[in-house]
Symmetry: C2
């Protein structure tokens, strides 16, 4: 028989592919757990608050959670969670908000951190602002650019004096997923290996002529037919083309400033490699640790 854990609050982070929960006592972690989210599961909790609450309770099934337990969460994008309704905060604004939104809930006391919006160019984020807040809580004097790659998109955020000044989202992760899983290229790029040389060559080509993306994609297929490269080279080439175009477009963000990449190593590595090739080395930070630090920082302010 195991001892039940009684958190005085729960830190929760909802990403499009995973939900993570930490059982907290003040800023100390008593336990943590996470669960992958597949697209249908994600759709369900976005549309049905009861399903969301049930999933949180299931994550914390070894914890004592009651109607009074405070659950502080980031990532409830008002665009996606039809029951959440948390408005965005327009940038420039502090990464770490002093206000959160109480969302009526039955299983626990739910509070949501507000995402950020930008008018021009139009952009929104919900979840990454908490990760940024954590990085700035741990690095309070840090100014520069934070790059947050994820399987769906990559966000570049300019931060100064603890504020998010501006940000821009690139749909690079989703383009890679669509092309590698659903396009005519899908058979050519099935590999778990990473060919660094092919990545570097494609990166260089994309940085030089980023507008040629649709032609280079077509070349990947033609090369498969005419020269039969290995799939690991074609896959790395696809990633290099997409990240190269992004790095070219985001140059005004990263040029001549400090850069931090917050992502798991498999997501962070190609960005780090690409930036290093441009003479712009980046610090890599762990996303779970930063997100928890962000949730804790918000909790302390409340």
């Amino acid at each position: 028989m195991t001892d039940r854990i009684t958190p005085d609050w729960i830190a929760l982070h909802v990403a499009p592919d995973q939900m993570t929960a930490w059982a907290m006592q003040d800023t100390q972690v008593l336990a943590h757990t996470h669960s992958p989210l597949d697209p249908s599961g994600l759709d369900q909790i976005r549309q049905d608050q009861a399903a969301f609450e049930a999933m949180v309770l299931s994550l914390g099934r070894d914890w004592d959670v009651g109607a009074q337990t405070r659950v502080l969460t980031g990532g409830l994008d008002p665009a996606d969670y039809i029951w959440a309704g948390t408005p965005y905060r327009p940038v420039p604004c502090p990464a770490c908000a002093e206000t959160v939104r109480d969302i009526p809930a039955t299983a626990f006391a739910l509070r949501a951190i507000q995402g950020l919006s930008q008018k021009t160019p139009a952009d929104v984020m919900s979840g990454p602002e908490t990760t940024i807040a954590g990085f700035l809580a741990l690095n309070p004097k840090w100014d520069g650019v934070i790059c947050l790659p994820s399987p769906r998109c990559t966000i570049w955020a300019q931060v100064s004096a603890q504020e998010v000044v501006s940000f821009q989202t690139y749909m690079t992760g989703e383009l890679f997923a669509l092309l590698s899983q659903h396009s005519i290229l899908r058979h050519a790029v099935q590999s778990n290996d990473f060919d660094e040389t092919a990545f570097d060559t494609a990166l260089e080509e994309a940085l030089r002529r980023p507008e040629k993306l649709a032609a280079r994609l077509s070349e990947i297929r033609a090369e498969t037919l005419l020269a039969a490269p290995c799939a690991s080279a074609s896959r790395a080439r696809l990633l290099g083309l997409l990240i190269g175009a992004e790095i070219a477009a985001a140059r005004p963000y990263w040029l001549g400033t400090q850069i931090a990449i917050i992502a798991n190593m498999d997501q962070a590595s190609p960005y780090s490699r690409a930036l290093t090739s441009q003479g712009a080395p980046a610090t890599i930070a762990d996303p779970a640790r930063m997100t928890l630090a962000g949730l804790s920082a918000v909790h302390r302010q409340l």
Copy 2:
């Protein structure tokens, strides 16, 4: 009771989305028919020659077709049709080949036109070379650039003295299909209308900063959340961004030369509009008519 048609040969064109057959007497069309190809039907005829022959017979079910009937076809890409094995012809070479390949078949006498390949940049086409050959048969003194948009890809071919000198394929059609049907943008772009102003604005943005594609795609979603544009504007914006990047990349092809677009009007119009905005007006030609002219030209040479 209808009179049976007895073609002395059949002109056949296989595109990824449609198969078209003409019952011919020399260069005269006795009848024509076509059938859409869905992805599973296409997969089947690519892997199974008997299924292919059955589909041709079904297309010509009102025609007298026997083992001696010659069927001349374009579009049997050796990369896709595992039973076809027709090699490519490397460019530069005449658009209209004097040699075709006999493919052993049981239902009729099958002859395939060879597609074209290019070593650098790596590229292949199978089917469009017949359409180009038809355009050049009808316009024998024509030099310039031929643009062939299709739902899957767009080919730009430089032709001179009846030869295809070079060509480049852009995966623009497939990117548009993936993004409008399978991406996070799919709900934002569901419309059958075309917003010319939104197209022109996106085209101009993409021509100026083509590397920003992945950021502009993300903006389409954010604009939907923050400004609620109508879906026809978002859809035209998506198309304008993709075609704008392509037009920017293909500039060495179209700048300062005659241009012909061979495509149905719905495919040709946005390209024509984009090129006209750059001071490069294009002639638009009917693809079925050009393809039949190409098949007839090859038939006459045999």
